[in-house]
């Protein structure tokens, strides 16, 4: 967390930045459409949502846990929002708060169950994933909310900076900024990290680890709801299938971004900047693979390979940095 600037060159983030730049250079030279205004705008919007999803997972990985219910929370929040706006006629702004509240609440439920049972959040969120999603489909009868206020949906197709960039990206970057501030410059953020790194030591040092873990799950739910709002504005409707069956389609970007970004799976170490770059890298590569025609069906395969390479590289890097520190 507190690396000095010259050390930045040796960090994961720097490596990622280099990769991002390299891929941008490659794709913009080899493919036609990559730098087109349409493509860049489209990319900025996808990146925005993937960053948000990645951050939502990152804050739970911080605790050494996982949140498989991420997508389910997102969809539930979006559908709840659709209900608020379409059925109840609640104005946009209060609705957004309600959506975020819903996401946070579902995250809180995950957190409470995890903390109270002491069971690993993997199994808890595996269960709540199917409960949330099932409840949502039951209550909505899988009917989408398609008549959302235009003020809400327009946000998703707004174009800024000579029509190159979606405002959604700015929202995501702002969220990154806020999380960076939280983890670097506030006592709560530091406590969250400490609790994740070594719950026993943190507890004995006067930190309520359970509360911190619940905060992480709430934050995760909140960020998932943010992602859901962004996705809803993008597609202009709240649709039960927006994150795939059980919301599981969000899981790949959710894991890719933080893991590539250098967040430690055992908890206690995260990188907001890295997660952001991880999401950027993944979106870039996906887009590039589409453009150079590897075949739509092979994209998953390549993403899997990239995830594998990323974790293996991270392991080797860890090995070398650890060595160098001990020697110096």
């Amino acid at each position: 967390m507190n690396k000095k600037i010259p050390n930045f060159v040796f960090t994961n983030q720097f490596g990622l930045l280099c990769l991002v730049v390299t891929f941008i250079l490659i794709f913009s030279t080899v493919t036609d459409g990559f730098t087109s205004r349409f493509n860049i705008f489209a990319l900025s919007r996808v990146v925005a949502i993937d960053i948000m999803i990645g951050l939502a997972m990152m804050v739970v990985i911080l605790t050494g846990g996982l949140n498989l219910a991420l997508g389910a929370i997102g969809v539930c929040a979006a559908m709840f929002g659709g209900w608020c706006m379409e059925t109840m006629g609640i104005p946009v702004i209060p609705s957004i708060f309600l959506i975020l509240g819903m996401g946070s609440f579902l995250g809180w439920v995950n957190g409470m169950i995890t903390v109270k049972t002491g069971v690993h959040s993997f199994i808890v969120t595996l269960a709540t994933m199917s409960i949330y999603f099932g409840l949502m489909t039951m209550l909505t009868e899988a009917e989408a909310f398609r008549r959302l206020p235009e003020t809400f949906t327009e946000f998703g197709s707004m174009k800024l900076f000579k029509k190159y960039i979606s405002p959604l990206l700015l929202l995501s970057l702002a969220t990154c900024g806020a999380l960076f501030y939280l983890f670097k410059y506030t006592d709560i953020g530091r406590k969250l990290i400490a609790a994740g790194a070594n719950p026993d030591a943190a507890e004995l040092s006067g930190i309520s680890v359970n509360t911190m873990f619940i905060y992480c799950h709430v934050l995760s739910g909140f960020l998932a709801a943010m992602a859901a709002i962004m996705l809803t504005t993008r597609i202009g409707a709240a649709i039960p299938s927006m994150a795939g069956q059980l919301g599981m389609d969000w899981l790949l970007p959710a894991f890719l971004a933080p893991v590539i970004g250098g967040t430690l799976l055992s908890g206690g170490k995260l990188s907001v900047f890295g997660t952001m770059l991880g999401a950027v890298l993944v979106t870039l590569i996906t887009n590039g693979l589409y453009l150079i025609d590897v075949g739509e069906f092979w994209i998953r395969f390549f993403l899997g390979i990239i995830l594998l390479i990323a974790v293996l590289l991270d392991k080797t890097r860890e090995f070398f940095t650890l060595k160098s520190v001990i020697v110096s």
Binding site: V30, G33, F38, R146, I235, G236, S241, I292, D293, F297
Partner: protein, 340 residues
């Protein structure tokens, strides 16, 4: 290494194709289904034939790896980035897909909804597909006829998120209502457009209520296949069933007498004619104000791609029947719909 190679070759191709630009540039159509599904497979050949027959630049079938609106959007966006300038899409969502169609329209790219419609208001030039509601209605009528005008019906259908599913459920209800009091729907099982859950649910249904039910209408591909199979396996010819589409399992079951018949759709014609229309529109044509649009629950810019009921008597010649319909539509299309 191979990866690098494919990057270089594909970029070379792209450069080369870019050279055509200028004037009415060659039309490059992308045919994008909602996700992988056997129904759409005919689009691939339809696109290729359209390139050959109408001199298009390209007409490629591009499938999102999963049934997911976001993935479909991402794929379409990247296809446009890659230079496709016309998009035929099976809407991932009746409203959700409108958003991207509007954006494509802003970028000067004509689009049309194929096989399923988007709701209005929309920037899609047309919706060209099976009148699914009508097809389901006709199919149910056929079933009721086969059942002798009375009995209990079960309805198996596909993804609830598919815009067509609701139409189908309503249409089946309508046909049943028209039959008077003799016919009753005892269960609708939806959201079973994948084989494993479909197998599980349909068989559980058969086990529990197979004795009570007299007729089955299926209005989606997978349930039709699984239900045909279930009836074949049970050796049951008492229960009448009307399926949908042309999966070989269904066709075989018709020949063997386990399934009464099936409602065929015309995916090949959709892709073939759809590609043709896109090229026309890029060439400066537009739809006549007086075009004889059909109106459905979703849109009033609908063109029927045709549907045919097939039973044991004509199951062997269905391909010709469909081709006939396609050619018929194509022949009259310019005159009926377009203003060039």
């Amino acid at each position: 290494m191979k990866f690098l190679f494919s990057m270089i070759t594909s970029s070379a191709i792209l450069m080369a194709s870019g050279a055509f630009a200028g004037g009415h540039s060659p039309t490059k159509v992308a045919l994008v289904p909602g996700g992988p599904h056997p129904y759409f497979a005919a689009w691939e050949k339809a696109g290729k034939d359209a390139v050959k027959d109408f001199g298009l630049g390209k007409a490629d079938y591009k499938v999102p790896a999963e049934w997911d609106l976001s993935q479909q959007n991402e794929l379409i966006e990247s296809l446009v980035g890659k230079g496709y300038n016309a998009v035929l899409v099976f809407p991932g969502d009746a409203v959700g897909t409108n958003k991207i169609l509007g954006e494509l329209d802003d970028a000067g790219i004509p689009t049309a909804a194929l096989a399923g419609c988007v709701e209005q208001p929309t920037k899609a030039k047309m919706c060209f597909g099976t009148d699914t509601g009508h097809s389901a209605y006709l199919g149910t009528k056929q079933l009721i006829k086969a059942m002798g005008g009375k009995g209990k019906i079960a309805h198996f259908t596909g993804f609830l998120v598919d815009p067509n599913t609701t139409l189908r459920i309503d249409a089946v209800e309508k046909a049943v209502a028209e039959a008077g009091g003799g016919v009753e729907i005892i269960q609708v099982i939806a959201d079973i457009d994948a084989y494993e859950p479909a197998d599980e649910k349909i068989n559980a249904f058969m086990a529990a209520q197979g004795g009570e039910v007299d007729g089955i209408v299926t209005t989606a591909w997978v349930p039709a296949v699984v239900a045909s199979q279930a009836l074949t396996n049970m050796g049951d010819k008492r229960i009448k069933m009307v399926g949908i589409d042309h999966d070989e399992v269904v066709l075989k079951a018709i020949k063997e007498g386990f399934v009464h018949g099936t409602m065929l759709q015309n995916p090949y014609g959709q892709g073939y004619i759809g590609s043709y229309v896109m090229d026309k529109i890029r060439g400066g044509c537009s739809f006549k104000a007086s075009a004889p649009w059909k109106t459905t629950a979703q849109t009033n810019q609908f063109i029927d791609s045709g549907t045919v009921f097939v039973d044991i008597s004509d199951v062997d010649t269905y391909v010709d029947a469909m081709r006939g319909i396609s050619l018929e539509i194509l022949e009259t299309f310019d005159g009926t719909y377009l203003d060039c």
